[in-house]
C-alpha cells in the first residue's frame, strides 16, 4: 500500500479529513524548506504538496509566481528539490510528499531518471499542472514503474468523459480545482462544489481533495464537509511572504494548526 493510500485509509477509519498544505520549495530560501515541512506535519498536515519552482508558472496567480521567483533566485532546481525531500525523509518516514509543478523541469531531467531519483528519496506522488491525461501516458509509465502516484487536477469545466479518463490514470487522490482561475484567485463557491462532487464520485473511487481559493479555517471546514481533503496553497505562501524570516516557520505552523483544529471540530 502506498503512503498516500495508507494515510487516507487511516483518516477514513478515524472519520477525519485530510489537510494538504502547499509550499514552494526554496521559498523564502532553501534553508527554510525542510524546517517548514516538519512544521506543517507538526501542525497537523496529512500530505505535503511541495512546489517545484518554474520560470513560467502559467496556472498560478501572483502569490505563487512570486514564490517561484524567490526560489529560482536562490538557484533552486528539481535536483535540489529532490535533495530537500531526502533531507526531510531522514526524520519523517510517514508523511506523503507530492511534488507539484510544471512538466518541463522533469522533461529536462528525463522522466525515467526523475522517477528513479524521486522514488529513491521518498517522493510519493507527482502532479504536473500542464500534462493532461492526453499527453501523460508515456511519462506516467515511468512514474508507475517506480511506484509514484500520478495526481491529476479536475476543474469545474471538466466534462464527464474527461473525468472518466482521469479516473483511469489517477492514483493516490484527485485534486479538484474549486474555481475557474489561477491559484490564489477570488473566493470559492461552496454550492458549486457541492453540486460537482457527486458527478466526480460517479467516476472516481479515489479520495477527492479540493483546493484553490481556500483562505481561512472556516472555509476549510465547510469544504471538508464535502470533500475528503482540503488543499491550501496561496494563503500559506502569503504567510511565508509576509513574515519576517525568523517568524516564517512559527507563523505558518500557527496558521495551519488553526485550520487543523477547524477540520477536526466537525
Amino acid at each position: 500500500m502506498s503512503r498516500i493510500q495508507a494515510v487516507f485509509e487511516k483518516l477514513k477509519a478515524e472519520q477525519r479529513k485530510a489537510l494538504i498544505p502547499f509550499i514552494t520549495a526554496g521559498d523564502p530560501d532553501p534553508q527554510l524548506t525542510v524546517p517548514l515541512l516538519h512544521a506543517l506535519v507538526e501542525a497537523g498536515a496529512d500530505v505535503l504538496e511541495l512546489g517545484v519552482p518554474f520560470s513560467d508558472p502559467m496556472a498560478d496567480g501572483p502569490t505563487i509566481q512570486r514564490a517561484s521567483e524567490r526560489a529560482l533566485k536562490h538557484g533552486v532546481s528539481l535536483r535540489s528539490v529532490l535533495a530537500m525531500v531526502a533531507e526531510f525523509r531522514q526524520q519523517d518516514a510517514k508523511t506523503p510528499v507530492v511534488l507539484m509543478g510544471y512538466g518541463n523541469p522533469i522533461e529536462a531531467m528525463g522522466w525515467e531518471a526523475f522517477a528513479q531519483r524521486a522514488a529513491s528519496v521518498g517522493v510519493d506522488g507527482v502532479l504536473t499542472v500542464d500534462f493532461p491525461p492526453e499527453e501523460s501516458h508515456e511519462a506516467f509509465t515511468h512514474l508507475e514503474a517506480h511506484g509514484l502516484d500520478p495526481i491529476f487536477l479536475l476543474a469545474p469545466t471538466t466534462l464527464d468523459e474527461r473525468i472518466a479518463e482521469v479516473a483511469k490514470l489517477a492514483r493516490g487522490y484527485v485534486y479538484y480545482v474549486s474555481l475557474k482561475g489561477v491559484t490564489g484567485a477570488g473566493h470559492l463557491d461552496l454550492s458549486a462544489i457541492e453540486q460537482k462532487l457527486p458527478q466526480l464520485r460517479r467516476h472516481i473511487a479515489l479520495p477527492i481533495g479540493v483546493g484553490f481559493g481556500i483562505r481561512d479555517a472556516e472555509t476549510a471546514r465547510k469544504v471538508a464537509e464535502l470533500a475528503d481533503a482540503v488543499v491550501i496553497g496561496s494563503r500559506i505562501v502569503q504567510e511565508i511572504e509576509q513574515s519576517p524570516r525568523e517568524r516564517v516557520v512559527d507563523n505558518v505552523k500557527q496558521f495551519v494548526a488553526g485550520v487543523r483544529a477547524a477540520l477536526d471540530k466537525q
Partner: protein, 398 residues
C-alpha cells in the same frame, strides 16, 4: 504525402496539448468548432470576403530590382504583407479567429503581443466586430513599441503591461493564458502565432496559408516558375509557416526560416532555438525546441526585434527541421539593421525589424547565386513601429 498534425495535434514528436485541466475543455471546444467551420462554405466565403475587402488582399509580389542589382546575384522578390491593413501578416489570422469567435458567441477577445502587430490586428478586428478586447504585452515591449501601444488604445483595446519574468512576449503569453483560465466561458483567446496548444498551430497556419497560396499563383505569373527559395523570419513562425506550407510538396523550392541571432548564437543572447539546436521542451501548451537551462527553466532571450524575442517556436517548424524540408538559420541584430537600411535606401520600403531578418539572409546568399535565380522573401510587416528602436540604435533622439 505530408499531412500534419494528427488528431491530437502532434507534428511528429512535437506539438500536442500541454494545458492545465481548466483549459482543456475550452481548447477542445475550439478544436471541434474549427473542424466544423473550416470546410463550411459560408465561413470560407466570409473569410475570403474580409481578406479581400478589409485587409486588401491579395498582397502583391514586388521585384526588388535595384536591391538585387546592388547585391549582385539572385533576384529578390518581396511578398508584400507589409501592405496589408494594419501593416503586417498578423491580420490574416486575427480575422479568421475573430470570425470563429463570433460563431462561438464570444463577445470578449484577448491576445498576447510582442512587437504589437498581433495586438494591433486583434484590436482592429475587435473594433470591426464590436468585441471587448484586452491585449497583454511585456512591459519592456510596451516601452520599445510605444506607437503600437497607442494604436491599440485608439482602437478601443485595453493594453495590460506585464511586469513578471523577462517582461517580454513569453510573459505576455503566460498572462493571457491566466486571463483565459479565469474567463474561459466568455472569452476567446486570439493566439498570434502558429504555436501553443492544438488546434492553434494548425488553425493559425491555415489562416496564414493565404500568403503562400497567393505566392504560388503570383510567382509563375511574374517569372514563369516558382522561386528557388522562399525565405521568412521565424519567431513563433506564423508568417513563415503561412508561406512555407503551400510549398512543402513542391520540389526544388528551398524553404529557409530565419531566426533572431541577437548578439550572435555563440553569445547565448539570441532567440534562435532551431538554429542553436535547443533542447526539446514544453511551454505554452506545446512540445517544441525550447531555449532553456540545464534544469528546464526557460531562459531570457534577446533580439532587437520584439516580435522574434521568444524562447520557443511553432511545432511544425520543429518537424520541418527534423525532416530537412526547411532549413533554419540565424541573422544577428547588426545584420538585420543593415538589411533594414538597404531596403529603405534602395527600394523606398521601410520593413519591420522582424522581416529585416529574412531579408538579411536573402542579401547574404543572393551574391553567391546566379542572376537567373529567384529568392522570394516574405516581407511580413512594415517598419513604422520600429522608428524608436532604430533611432536609438543610431544614437538619434526623436
Amino acid at each position: 504525402m505530408y499531412n500534419y498534425p494528427d488528431s491530437g495535434g502532434h507534428f511528429g514528436p512535437y506539438g500536442g496539448i500541454y494545458m492545465a485541466e481548466t483549459l482543456m475543455p475550452a481548447v477542445d471546444e475550439l478544436r471541434r468548432q474549427y473542424e466544423h467551420f473550416r470546410d463550411d462554405p459560408e465561413f470560407k466565403a466570409e473569410f475570403a470576403y474580409e481578406l479581400k475587402h478589409y485587409v486588401g488582399r491579395p498582397s502583391p509580389i514586388y521585384h526588388a530590382k535595384r536591391l538585387s542589382e546592388q547585391f549582385g546575384g539572385a533576384q529578390i522578390y518581396l511578398k508584400r504583407e507589409d501592405l496589408n491593413h494594419t501593416g503586417a501578416h498578423k491580420i490574416n489570422n486575427a480575422i479568421g479567429q475573430a470570425l470563429l469567435a463570433r460563431r462561438m458567441g464570444k463577445k470578449r477577445v484577448i491576445a498576447e503581443t510582442g512587437a504589437g502587430m498581433h495586438g494591433v490586428a486583434t484590436a482592429t478586428v475587435a473594433a470591426r466586430f464590436g468585441m471587448e478586447c484586452v491585449v497583454y504585452m511585456g512591459a519592456e515591449d510596451v516601452q520599445r513599441q510605444a506607437p503600437n501601444v497607442f494604436r491599440m488604445k485608439l482602437l478601443g483595446a485595453t493594453v495590460v503591461p506585464v511586469e513578471s519574468g523577462s517582461r517580454t512576449l513569453k510573459d505576455a503569453c503566460n498572462e493571457a493564458i491566466r486571463d483565459w483560465v479565469t474567463n474561459v466561458e466568455t472569452t476567446f483567446y486570439i493566439f498570434g502565432t502558429a504555436a501553443g496548444p492544438h488546434p492553434y498551430p494548425m488553425l493559425v497556419r491555415d489562416f496564414q496559408c493565404v500568403i503562400g497560396n497567393e505566392a504560388k499563383v503570383q510567382m509563375p505569373e511574374l517569372i514563369g516558375r516558382q522561386p528557388d527559395a522562399v525565405i521568412a523570419c521565424v519567431g513563433g513562425g506564423s508568417n513563415a509557416i503561412g508561406i512555407f506550407h503551400p510549398y512543402i510538396d513542391v520540389e526544388g523550392v528551398r524553404l529557409i526560416g530565419v531566426e533572431a541571432g541577437g548578439h550572435g548564437i555563440a553569445s547565448g543572447q539570441h532567440a534562435a532555438p532551431l538554429t542553436a539546436n535547443a533542447k526539446v521542451g514544453v511551454l505554452h501548451g506545446n512540445k517544441v525546441y525550447l531555449m532553456q537551462d540545464e534544469n528546464g527553466q526557460i531562459v531570457e532571450t534577446h533580439s532587437i526585434s520584439a516580435g522574434l524575442d521568444y524562447p520557443g517556436v511553432g511545432p511544425e517548424h520543429c518537424l520541418l527541421k527534423d525532416l530537412h524540408r526547411a532549413e533554419y538559420v540565424a541573422i544577428d541584430d547588426d545584420e538585420a539593421i543593415a538589411a533594414f537600411d538597404a531596403l529603405c535606401r534602395f527600394e523606398g520600403i521601410i520593413p519591420a525589424l522582424e522581416s529585416s531578418h529574412a531579408l538579411a539572409h536573402a542579401l547574404k546568399i543572393a551574391p553567391g547565386m546566379g542572376k537567373d535565380k529567384a529568392l522570394l522573401v516574405n516581407l511580413s510587416g512594415r517598419g513604422d513601429k520600429d522608428m524608436n528602436t532604430v533611432a536609438r540604435i543610431k544614437g538619434i533622439t526623436l
